[in-house]
Symmetry: C2
Subunit: 195 residues, 2 copies
DNA sequence: TCCCTCATGTAAAAGGTTACATGATTTA
DNA sequence: TAAATCATGTAACCTTTTACATGAGGGA
């Protein structure tokens, strides 16, 4: 089984969905850290069904094409449950911007600070969106997050990391940009005297 | 050009290396957020050379096989410099453990807390290693990080994010584990009375 | 003798993205 | 009339991982 398969099972364990709906959900990464496109999702659903982990029923619609609504089976739920706690290696994270930072010393500081300011902004915006969701949960729920056997706790846990991640990332971008801007200002003050 | 190509150029811009040495470096991700295997690196070096971005010379060794030492060309340096500040989409991060957390509500809390404690430990260990490197830099350098046109600043910037990332991640794992353990303790106190 | 490191590659398979393909309905 | 949404798929391509392949030298 692939990770994508478990991602789909994770959604279907909460509620039945069509392939199209699953694809919509996975445009923005579920749990904030996994995404996929419809071209990958449709074949994967077929594989899951072949393994008896999901079923589908055709739902007729007026004014829209029919859809196939997928439901998780008890076997699918078991497979998902086992996967959640199975041993796992620490995966290496991949991030292009950080890789670029590794060669930042070669770049023009002004151009570079622009790039990092742009990314700072994007991550701040994402952070605000996540914080708004958290705010809503806080208002509605209160102590509800304590129930670790409810999907709401799981969602809240991933949201909490998402917030921490965006906060860390945006602050790092800002710090890098500030360093670049300070260096640039210093260069302008003393055009050709250093150390 | 692929991102891997720029990753290799980023290393070669600092110092010439053989394919084998590059592969060693990229076992642990460079800039803490990009890794690759030798099977990907050797063909990529050939492509870079075909594009005139790197050159190699054969270096004979006693007691070891000959090696091809690659050097970045002025064209390679230019390509790298331009890439660093080029516009870039925010890439979606991928993380299996966080995806698992999304289905945590299905799992056995004891088994799950074990998984999260294991990952907490691993990230704490990584954090300690990074902090040790940072400590060394602080002692040796002092104000050296200010020079944004030195490779040391770039390395320091990526290290800073690496530390923040490991701290965030390990604390999140601990928090999740604590929630699971508290719920488990509560269940033991009152075996079948809730609310 | 067997395994590890050094050193460089290729091949096959898996995972993921982009593009192709179709067709109805609604909104601008 | 054109674009967007709903709905489901396939094909080609690119990237990455795993496995195959070879061979010398050093240490247990």
């Amino acid at each position: 089984m692939t990770i994508l398969g478990y991602a789909l099972l994770g959604l279907l364990a909460r509620e039945p969905f069509s392939g199209y709906e699953l694809a919509q959900k996975m445009k923005a990464p579920i749990s904030f850290f996994w995404h996929a496109k419809h071209s990958q999702i449709y074949p994967e659903l077929a594989k899951l069904e072949a393994q008896g982990l999901v079923n589908h029923e055709r739902v007729e619609q007026q004014e829209h094409p029919d859809k196939k609504v997928y439901t998780i089976t008890p076997a699918g739920r078991d497979a998902l449950r086992q996967w959640v706690t199975a041993p796992m290696e620490v995966p290496h994270a991949r991030d292009e911007l950080i890789l670029r930072a590794y060669s930042l010393w070669l770049a023009d500081p002004q151009e570079a600070s622009l790039l990092f300011r742009t990314h700072e902004q994007r991550h701040v915006e994402q952070l605000r969106r996540y914080e708004a969701v958290q705010q809503k949960i806080m208002e509605e729920a209160g102590a509800l997050q304590q129930q670790v056997d409810s999907p709401d706790f799981s969602s809240y846990a991933t949201l909490a990391l998402g917030i921490g991640y965006e906060r860390l990332y945006s602050e790092w971008c800002r710090w890098v940009a500030e360093q670049l801007e300070q260096a640039d200002a210093t260069t302008l003050e003393k055009p050709s005297s250093s150390g």
